[in-house]
């Protein structure tokens, strides 16, 4: 009984101070977020995506000529509705993360969507360029097929089975799954060291399949989001966290007690998913992507998002260079 009533009290005790805090509800700007994870405090690195810098990149992006838009029924429809319906997420660190206080979603994937919407509509208010519909690994293709969303930009790996159902523009980014461990870990150096280790990954990620393929027989523990996985490694529940390298690098910047080991052991070219109904749509988005690659807007977006956490700037991938794109 001892431990149980104790725990019950513990909630009550901590709760009363929360209630006081809520009651004293003051207004004003919320604090800037600090490093993730349990033990970290405000002393941590405060590097984070700046909404202003992000907005500036979107606003300086290219705008299509009216004739280009009117030549595409798809783009005309989007221009008419005034925004793009993007399939994605609100809790994807670095790629598509929502600021709960402003409701604004920023990140590299969010930026591709916003740049495309800006390209089509020319809208000046960045906050109104896209509406995000939540997707999961299993819903993305169908949502494109039945036109629930206009595009999917969601760390969406181009694969042949998927390309049979929908069309991929791009790739616009080349990434891969990598391995995150505690900074003091010396036993895990590459994917071959993962056999028999306790692994975690996000429950909605393709890393599950990658682990099944590269670490046969290993069944990872699944958590709902990046933060839970980070906490699991920090708290020692897991030896390693497998996910997209950029996200892991971002975690390592925010949490000095974590590091990324080796180079990605998978190749994940990310594409913009669009409906297969009208082949012109894919061509339209490819033209747009080539435009931002050439104009440097793509790199500017990378620097404002992924580049906040990762040093070496990549070069843009070649459109259509991946089977399925």
């Amino acid at each position: 009984m001892h431990t149980f009533s104790r725990r019950g009290l513990l909630y009550v005790a901590a709760g009363s101070s929360a209630a006081v805090a809520l009651a004293a509800c003051s207004s004003g700007a919320p604090p800037t977020p600090v490093g993730s994870g349990s033990a970290s405090g405000p002393t941590n690195s405060n590097r984070q995506i700046s909404q202003d810098a992000y907005d500036a990149v979107i606003k300086s992006g290219p705008v299509a000529d009216a004739s280009v838009v009117s030549a595409s029924t798809w783009a005309t429809k989007i221009k008419g509705q005034g925004y793009i319906k993007r399939g994605g997420t609100t809790t994807g660190a670095i790629f598509s993360l929502k600021d709960p206080t402003t409701g604004r979603i920023s990140g590299f994937d969010a930026g591709i969507g916003d740049l495309l919407a800006h390209y089509i509509t020319g809208g000046a208010d960045v906050s109104k360029l896209t509406q995000v519909a939540q997707t999961s690994v299993d819903t993305r293709e169908t949502m494109l097929q039945n036109n629930t969303v206009d595009i999917v930009v969601a760390t969406y790996s181009i694969t042949l089975p998927r390309a049979q159902k929908i069309a991929f523009a791009g790739p616009y980014y080349s990434s891969g799954d990598s391995i995150q461990v505690k900074a003091d870990n010396t036993t895990i150096k590459s994917v071959t060291d993962l056999a028999g280790k306790k692994l975690v990954t996000e429950s909605n990620s393709t890393a599950i399949t990658a682990i099944g393929k590269y670490v046969p027989g290993n069944t990872p523990t699944l958590f709902a989001d990046n933060d839970s996985c980070v906490a699991a490694v920090q708290q020692g529940r897991a030896d390693a966290y497998v996910l997209d390298e950029s996200i892991l690098l971002g975690n390592a910047v925010k949490n000095p007690d974590l590091k990324v080991v080796g180079t990605p052991f998978t190749i994940d070219p990310y594409g913009v998913g669009v409906s297969k109904d009208d082949p012109a749509v894919k061509a339209f988005v490819n033209t747009f992507l080539q435009k931002i690659f050439d104009s440097g807007d793509w790199l500017k977006l990378w620097k404002a998002t992924v580049g906040v956490y990762v040093e070496a700037a990549p070069s843009a991938p070649k459109i259509g260079s991946v089977p399925g794109s």
Binding site: S5, S38, V200, I208, T219, L222, F223, S228, A231
Partner: protein
């Protein structure tokens, strides 16, 4: 079809582990909740006011907090204050805490059905509190508690599935993982659904049997 058999074959131990994890969560959760729930019930009716207050606060908190919220707090919150338990035991702990709040109320209503004369007689015979509880009150209260306890058990069985959302590899979690890997949704969901259905109906059957058993052995009515 071959594909499905291959998947089931390759992952038979993974699936079996999932089923065993669900069973383990449920049995340990129910057992723990039964013990804690009975103790809290005694707290709630004891003449010692602070114990009543603690008992009531315990029940009101854990009966009203959603299990998923509780599990997330246990898995991710407790390590922040230095309490790190293995995931499986986090699941058990959540089920015990939530389950005991409900079982406490079952036990309390059960005790309420006993007539005061029973315990007065027991006390007149010089029985201690423990003996009285063990030999006179709980066995009689148990009669009216069988069906509610079965419901508590099924509730804990079904609640155990929420542990899958915090990384416990129970049958729901295994289903989810294999579905992402093999895309055999129908088979996998039917399979795990059947696991819950069989256990729930089984528990219901055991409950009816127990109820018949205790009602047959009824000597003098409690009332």
């Amino acid at each position: 079809m071959d594909q499905i058999w291959q998947m089931l074959g390759e992952n038979s131990s993974f699936l079996l582990n999932g089923v065993l994890t669900t069973v383990g969560l449920t049995i340990l959760g129910f057992g723990g909740a039964l013990v804690i729930g009975t103790i809290v019930a005694v707290f709630r009716v004891s003449p010692i006011t602070p114990l009543r207050v603690v008992g009531t606060a315990y029940v009101e908190f854990f009966r009203n907090v959603p299990l998923l919220t509780l599990l997330i707090l246990i898995v991710f919150g407790l390590p922040d204050i230095g309490l790190l338990f293995p995931l499986f035991w986090c699941g058990v702990l959540g089920l015990v805490l939530a389950g005991s709040a409900f079982i406490c109320e079952t036990v309390r209503s059960g005790i309420n059905t006993i007539s005061v004369g029973q315990s007065e007689a027991a006390r007149a015979l010089g029985m201690s509190f423990g003996t009285q509880l063990r030999l006179i009150i709980l066995p009689q209260a148990f009669r009216t508690m069988v069906q509610p306890l079965v419901n508590n058990f099924i509730g804990i069985l079904i609640g155990s599935s929420l542990a899958s959302a915090v990384g416990v590899s129970d049958i729901t979690n295994v289903t989810q993982q294999l579905n992402i890997r093999y895309a055999e949704a129908v088979v996998l969901f039917l399979l795990s659904g059947a696991v819950y259905l069989v256990f729930a109906l089984g528990a219901g059957g055991v409950g009816s049997w127990l109820e018949r058993l205790v009602s047959r052995s009824r000597i003098g009515s409690a009332r």
